[in-house]
Homo-oligomer: 296 residues x 2
């Protein structure tokens, strides 16, 4: 930062997570900007409602920011850095590029290299937890790299900043491992429900799950109907996780399978109103299967 | 059964599950036989201790039984049926072959065809739950096929028999779906722990799991150290599940990944004393990875 005044924080993009984090930072008194160019009316309204300021074009957003939070679908993270870093490099504010995306160590290294070659300071964040809301436990910002203090300055009651070292990549590694378990498990549960419906034993298996796995079954009932809405984003995350595992010499197969499930689920979102119960969802899945989506 | 007297029940084999079920049936007053030919001293002692009677050779076991429970590693189920059914077909007791193994619908169909062609009556059972013990919830015997009544006659306080239809295959389908979720989840958790150790973030991720996923983390701590002991058996089960999913047009990848994890874990069992904590186990995993077990 170039002054002791509170930094101006740019958030790209103002999606569900980005706007919820924006709301927390606005409440703390930060100036929080974003670019609403080309965004949907719903996204623009949500961003304005929480007090985020539309800086107009990406160029004008970047030239006016001290700290940039990149919060994007993982498949867009590298492309965005490639576009943004050269612009940030020309700013006289010495801005900090904070990559908050669910990307593999390999992707993170590529993003960091772009920041480095543009002369832009770089910090790694892995966001764990749901988008912050007053009735939830705080979201965790695991962060690593040489500029941890500037991320710690963003801590609020709903944003818990947890430093995990001076090496960029450790925070992303945390995110990959955590999401490999949570989102991998959700996908596996969805697949098991699909198998039960396909085999015609869904009634009996749901009764058995409710009996011997009541916590897992409650979680399935609560989460599965919402899964088509997030599946498109999670599919890209599964690819980053599969790459992470492969690079470590671990099997990438779990998350290739999870990616397959989320790709299928994303179709349900496009096809209109999502199903309202776990059984409806599974039945809709199986209808998709029967339309001929061969497993690979 | 050829008489109103209690049937003689043969159990093949007298492993952990087989001998625990044998113990329950002995307690109910059944004559329970097995063949201890070629089994380890430990297995033979366990079987005798619970009151199972050694019938000697397989031939003599089969010729004296009214009902046979096949409880084997899934990879041995078809081979055993191929050997046993022709022998059962020559018995004047009209014995019932009850396949209790974790096999795919395709494997089950093959086993049933062998029984049919040998003139042997056939019933499907899917065993769900841990080996029965007084301090646990009862094990469930899901059963389907035309001879449900003869399996229902085996119900005890610790063996809960649940009919799921007249069609052989439905009980096995229940087992496949259930185990796909439970054993798939255990393998995924083990893989996530391995990834954390490989990436050097195990301390931070365990702290985060304990905070935001306390139930899953407790389950990992409890189960993972025991996993090498069962991994060899579970690996074959993962192959049956992958086949089941593939046949349905679902992705087999989750359970191919789970099979990979269990194959790796099985090596830890062979290498001596299993690790006593989840962190030790993960560290041992990673050592195996570094010995060069390439992921496929």
């Amino acid at each position: 930062m170039t002054s002791d005044a509170a930094p101006t924080i740019a958030i790209v993009g103002a999606g569900e997570m980005g706007s919820a984090i924006g709301a927390c930072l606005v409440d703390e008194g930060f100036m929080v900007t974003t670019s609403l160019e080309g965004r949907s009316q719903r996204t623009a309204e949500r961003a304005r409602n929480v007090g985020m300021v539309d800086a107009g074009s990406l160029e004008s957003l970047l030239s006016g920011s001290d700290l940039l939070l990149s919060i994007l679908p993982p498949s867009s993270a590298l492309e965005f850095a490639t576009m943004a870093c050269p612009l940030l490099g020309t700013s006289d504010r010495d801005p900090l590029f904070v990559d908050c995306n669910a990307v593999s160590p390999t992707t993170l290294t590529s993003i960091r290299a772009i920041a480095d070659s543009s002369g832009v300071r770089f910090q790694d964040v892995g966001i764990i937890g749901a988008a912050p809301q007053p009735d939830r436990i705080p979201v965790r910002f695991f962060t690593s790299g040489p500029f941890t203090g500037e991320v710690e300055a963003l801590a609020t009651e709903l944003i818990d900043v947890r430093p995990v070292g001076v090496e960029a990549g450790r925070a992303s590694a945390m995110k990959m491992v955590y999401a490999s378990l949570t989102k991998g498990t959700h996908a596996l549960r969805a697949a098991a429900m699909m198998a039960a419906v396909s085999l015609g034993v869904q009634e009996e298996i749901c009764e058995e799950w409710a009996y011997s796995l009541p916590d897992a079954y409650r979680s399935m009932q609560k989460r599965m109907p919402r899964m088509p809405l997030v599946a498109g984003r999670w599919s890209g995350e599964m690819r980053e996780i599969a790459d992470t595992y492969r690079t470590l010499g671990l099997t990438p197969a779990f998350h290739e399978g999870a990616g397959w499930v989320y790709d299928l689920l994303a179709k349900l979102d496009q096809d209109g109103a999502p199903p309202s119960s776990v059984e409806q969802l599974a039945t809709a899945f199986v209808a998709l299967l029967e339309e001929g989506e061969p497993a690979t």
